[in-house]
């Protein structure tokens, strides 16, 4: 069952959680129409301690709303949320001491103050004892290359520097659970790699449970074994990254070079999607074998070269988003995963 309580292991747990917003819309000069938006529409999942999970979906899918409910900023309209055994909206402050949050598009740091002053405030805020504070700060400074930045006012930091500073601020109090809401947004390749490496280390060494929201699927591919896909406020997929291909009915592509230009070839089990001079692109189901296709092509056409391309995870997910506007709840192939 999805979201089944598995007792001691579950660190983040949602059971049939809903969040409904009342929205007023203009309907004529004076009249306002009230209608309801179901931002989160019955989501259930469970994340065991120490797992790093990707939480993805298109804009407006309900990702941030879920995270706000997990921090206790928003109260669910229905269902049950538990993080580290705490009901977030009821015991927001108590929970706050045990979780860390990073919003890629916002900063927890104090704009006018040097980075190290922000950390001093964080230290008081979470009542971190001196030894632990010194140790954690040293580790973050080392792994995130913050040394030269400590005396710089936050407003003078570049986006990548600020982001690293923010991630460190979220980890100084050794949170058990870390929510990352687009932590690599706007970062260059080098900064992204550094942030990912750091998150991997923290997860491995501290056993921190991590929920990662992102639009950069490379983040997910490099960090998470498990991924949850949400759209229209519903969980559409919960499982391994590889399983996404099967669910998304993804296709592999056979790129064929012929001796000369040919009209689009017609073969069973594949369709020609693109022709460019003597080169053609043939799509076939990811689950099918390429061998019979290659054999038939080689028998019928003058082949020069060929290669098989794996489906990009982006395409798989894009197809998933567009395929089911209002998915049925039963479409979630998550069984077994949460009961791990």
């Amino acid at each position: 069952m999805v979201g089944t309580v598995d007792g001691n292991g579950a660190h983040i747990e949602l059971d049939a959680v809903e969040k409904v917003f009342d929205v007023r819309r203009k309907a004529g000069r004076w009249r306002r129409e009230r209608h309801q938006v179901r931002a989160v529409d019955g989501i259930s999942f469970s994340v065991p301690r120490g797992e790093m999970v990707g939480y993805i979906g298109p804009n407006g899918a309900g990702k941030s709303t879920t995270i706000k409910m997990l921090t206790g900023i928003l109260m669910p309209s229905g269902g049950r949320v538990r993080v580290a055994g705490i009901d977030p909206s009821r015991d927001r402050t108590k929970l706050a001491r045990r979780i860390g949050v990073v919003f890629g598009q916002r900063t927890t740091l104090w704009w006018d103050l040097p980075l190290k002053d922000s950390y001093q405030l964080v230290r008081r805020l979470y009542r971190i004892e001196d030894g632990r504070y010194a140790k954690n700060l040293a580790r973050c400074v080392d792994l995130l290359d913050l040394g030269p930045l400590l005396d710089v006012p936050v407003r003078q930091l570049s986006l990548g520097q600020r982001m690293r500073g923010d991630i460190a601020a979220a980890l100084l109090h050794d949170p058990e659970v870390l929510y990352l809401d687009e932590p690599t947004i706007g970062l260059d390749v080098v900064s992204k790699a550094k942030v990912r490496e750091f998150l991997r280390t923290v997860n491995a060494e501290q056993g921190t449970t991590v929920l990662l929201t992102t639009h950069d699927l490379t983040d997910i591919e490099q960090l998470c074994e498990r991924v949850m896909v949400i759209d229209h406020g519903r969980l559409m997929y919960d499982g391994g990254l590889s399983g996404l291909h099967a669910v998304g009915e993804s296709e592999r592509t056979l790129v064929v070079d012929f001796e000369r230009e040919l009209p689009a070839v017609v073969v069973a089990g594949a369709r020609c999607v693109k022709v460019e001079g003597p080169r053609q692109w043939l799509a076939f189901p990811a689950a099918a074998s390429a061998a019979p296709l290659v054999a038939e092509l080689a028998a019928r056409y003058p082949l020069v070269d060929l290669s098989v391309r794996e489906p990009a995870i982006e395409d798989v997910i894009a197809r998933m988003y567009s395929s089911s506007p209002v998915p049925a709840q039963t479409a979630v192939p998550a069984a077994g995963r949460s009961a791990r």
């Binding site: 928003l74 916002r106 405030l121 008081r124």
Partner: protein, 269 residues
């Protein structure tokens, strides 16, 4: 207690944040001084025509002007301070970050504002006051105790001012754009704090009303304490007036805050 150390650190950061901008401070001191001179000459003309107006002699009236310039930023008589920043945070949704911290939103921002006020009293208050004292014949307190009582009154005034501005800020949870309310509140504050004219000059019922409203705690009362116009039980009465408004407005802010954070959507993704 960890809480007190936290909020002390927050207040210190509030102080340091404003201390960062030295050129802005210098420009502000200049502005305060110029305004002080303009008001001072206006008051001189007024008190020459009507000696003893509002119960002040000319020197006391001039002292009232310069105390007012020293307090203009300190008790944020034109609004501002944390107010604009927090309204902006509500509008953009950054307030989410304040809300998930293990700290109380109201106490947090009160601490920030006390730190700011301390900076503004030193950075924006002392120099105009000195210049005023050099240029005009002011009535300065003779005893150290009066200076101390003045500081108490200013602190209470800052808390009242904070509590008023906090209510303005909370309206942004519903209105999303706090600019209109801020402007109205700023105007009311300028008028009813006594920043333009002492409230003792206001005639009849308007004067009664102005002296009973919380804004009187921002300039009128601290200036009168500075001038030694309140003594004994009178002094206790004005402190009780300030503290009473501070508590009532803080409590109203708390109540509204819990409604706001429970009911209203935090903006943005």
């Amino acid at each position: 207690m960890g809480g007190i150390r936290l909020y002390a650190a927050v207040a210190l950061s509030g102080f340091r944040r404003f201390a960062t901008y030295r050129v802005a401070t210098a420009a502000g001191v200049f502005t305060n001084t110029v305004f002080g001179f303009i008001l001072a000459y206006t008051y001189i003309a007024l008190w020459d025509a009507r000696p003893g107006l509002g119960g002040y002699d000319r020197s006391q009236a001039l002292t009232y002007v310069w105390v007012g310039q020293a307090l203009l930023m300190t008790t944020a008589m034109m609004g501002g301070g944390f107010q604009d920043e927090l309204i902006e945070r509500i509008r953009t949704g950054d307030v989410a970050i304040d809300l998930y911290r293990p700290a109380d939103l109201q106490v947090w921002w009160l601490a920030t504002d006390l730190g700011r006020a301390a900076f503004h009293l030193l950075g924006r208050g002392v120099v105009p006051m000195l210049i005023g004292a050099l240029a005009f014949e002011l009535t300065l307190p003779a005893s150290a105790l009066t200076w101390l009582l003045f500081l108490v009154s200013v602190t209470l005034g800052v808390v009242v001012s904070f509590a008023l501005r906090y209510l303005v800020v909370l309206s942004a949870f519903w209105l999303l754009d706090g600019a209109g309310v801020s402007q109205i509140a700023g105007l009311a504050s300028m008028f009813f704090s006594g920043a333009l004219l002492p409230l003792t000059l206001f005639p009849g019922w308007l004067g009664e009303l102005a002296r009973a409203l919380p804004w009187a705690a921002l300039q009128q009362i601290p200036a009168d304490v500075f001038l030694g116009r309140h003594t004994g039980t009178g002094l206790l009465r004005v402190f009780a007036f300030q503290a009473g408004w501070a508590l009532a407005l803080l409590a109203a802010g708390r109540a509204l805050q819990s409604v706001a954070t429970r009911k209203v959507v935090v903006q943005g993704g």
